[in-house]
């Protein structure tokens, strides 16, 4: 079943059109990745899906309902949750308070925190610490943990590997895979195409606001253009 279906999406910032007719879909249970260079429009697509930006035209369907003009908090209530680019944790709140914000619409139970802590033991050690004092990797874990607190059906991740050491990147991707195995559908935006393609089922390549290429992750890894442009080969 197509859980998320984006059709002919256009998004503008004033006079600048950043996304010019993007279509893609994510089936239930899949990991799909959107790869593309800086400024290709990946974050813009993610913001439009979460309702932070209103599309100029096109539709975004989640669970077969058009959500392209739905308020962000209603989109989240339906189980479509985003881990934003740059983590955007609440620096002046404790780790635990950050997690509780993730469950804002639900009311967190002790068990919900436990689940996150078992996924990220580091967060448990630091639960009383202000989130602003965490390292970059820990902040990314917190951002993912916070999103998982709402028990989403689908997780949107915008460049979760940004600025992390290779060993941490591996760890983050392992956890993304683990969430997916637990039944969460994933849409992953990445510049680290190698890692993204290694865990994804399917991929779309975005170039200046358009889908330039799409296919299974294996096909794209083998594709010469992709190799040249994104895999540094």
């Amino acid at each position: 079943m197509k859980l998320l279906k984006v059709t002919d999406l256009h998004v503008s910032y004033g006079a600048i059109t950043a996304v010019k007719g993007v279509s893609f879909h994510v089936n239930e249970g899949e990991i799909v990745t959107l790869i593309g260079a800086n400024g290709a429009g990946k974050t813009t697509v993610m913001h439009a899906i979460s309702g932070l930006l209103k599309p100029a035209s096109g539709t975004i369907e989640f669970l077969k309902k058009n959500i392209s003009t739905t308020a962000p908090h209603k989109i989240i209530a339906q189980g479509l949750v985003q881990v934003p680019e740059g983590r955007r944790i609440f620096a002046k709140m404790t780790v635990k308070e950050n997690l509780s914000m993730g469950a804002y619409l639900k009311k967190a139970k002790a068990n919900d925190y436990q689940e996150i802590y078992s996924l990220f033991p580091r967060l448990h050690e630091r639960r009383r610490q202000l989130a602003g004092t965490l390292s970059g990797g820990e902040q990314q874990m917190l951002a993912i943990g916070r999103a998982l607190m709402s028990k989403p059906k689908m997780l949107l991740l915008d460049e979760p590997s940004m600025g992390l050491a290779p060993i941490l990147v591996k760890e983050i991707f392992r956890i993304i895979k683990e969430c997916n195995n637990a039944g969460v559908t994933i849409l992953l935006v990445e510049q680290n195409a190698n890692m993204a393609l290694s865990i994804a089922d399917r991929a779309y390549v975005l170039e200046t606001g358009l889908v330039a290429l799409e296919g299974s992750a294996e096909d794209l890894i083998a594709n010469d253009d992709v190799k040249k442009a994104y895999l540094g080969a």
Binding site: G51, A71, I76, P84, I89, F90, M93, Y104
Partner: protein
């Protein structure tokens, strides 16, 4: 000598705790939408008029009248935000600031036209007498009530902001409204609640202020609003404990200057201190030295 000092200190605490209550409204709104709500002082004036009409006109007892004024001012704050500020949320800060001044002038002049500039006596509650503390030092019951009511309000606000879901939402929106949105927080509602809470506190401040200086007129919010704004900046605008500290400090400095230096100079000293503090620590006493965020 010492006894005089203590009684000036009590005077300072009395007026300072009113400054603090009103400063909270400036600081909470600034924290969440980065707007100096210049019309906040006029909310005090509207609150005083509401209490005046309820008590003098309708014969309602003082406390229910204050509670009604809190609700009325909360509504006024929400309407102000929805009508004047919300449409400008993505505009430049200067446009928002000018709009705030416009809202302030509108309220003052609307009340001027409707109710004339003549001051009316405020129906202050009959709290007279004083409590002997030690020696010759006593505290008037009015001062005691003012300080206690303000303290209770601030403690309630503290628990609201720290402990409740809405309070956490307010902190989240003030830190990063986009991220708060992604948590499922209804940002518009959270901003409206912030205006409501700040304005309701101003209504309490108004009742306490007018009980001390019992005159109600359309421009009464100007002076008080300005002092409370200074208090908020002094403590660090956007920081709730900063507004409390700034208000109380300002009240004490003012009272001491009036007592030991000169009554005429008290405003000059107050603004002088503000300038010195801002030169040394631009983000205010409790502000972080880096950046200007909340």
């Amino acid at each position: 000598m010492f006894e005089m000092f203590v009684s000036h200190l009590i005077n300072g605490l009395q007026i300072g705790s009113i400054y603090a209550l009103i400063a909270l409204g400036y600081t909470m709104v600034y924290g969440i939408v980065k707007l100096i709500n210049f019309a906040h002082g006029d909310v005090i004036m509207v609150g005083a008029f509401i209490i005046l009409f309820l008590v003098t006109g309708a014969g309602i007892p003082f406390i229910p009248a204050v509670l009604t004024a809190m609700a009325g001012c909360a509504l006024l704050g929400v309407l102000m935000e929805k009508i004047a500020y919300k449409p400008l949320r993505n505009a430049t800060r200067l446009s928002a600031l000018i709009t705030a001044i416009g809202v302030s002038l509108f309220l003052q002049n609307a009340f001027l036209v409707r109710f004339s500039p003549n001051p009316r006596p405020f129906p202050r509650p009959a709290i007279s007498g004083s409590l002997n503390l030690f020696g010759d030092v006593s505290i008037s019951y009015l001062a005691l009530v003012t300080i206690v009511v303000s303290a209770v309000m601030m403690i309630l606000l503290h628990f609201f902001v720290k402990g409740t879901k809405m309070g956490k939402a307010m902190r989240a929106v003030s830190e990063d409204s986009g991220a708060a949105c992604l948590m499922g927080i209804n940002v518009n509602n959270t901003i409206a609640v912030t205006f409501a809470v700040g304005s309701a506190l101003a209504a309490v401040g108004s009742a306490l202020y007018a009980s001390t200086y019992p005159q109600v007129e359309p421009f009464m919010g100007l002076q008080m609003g300005l002092k409370a704004f200074v208090a908020a900046v002094l403590g660090g605008i956007g920081i709730i404990p900063g507004a409390m500290l700034g208000g109380i400090l300002l009240g004490i400095v003012e009272s001491m200057t009036k007592a030991y230096i000169s009554t005429q100079l008290s405003d000059a000293v107050v603004y002088g201190i503000l300038i010195i503090v801002l030169l040394l620590k631009p983000s205010g006493l409790m502000g972080k030295t880096t950046g200007e965020k909340v």
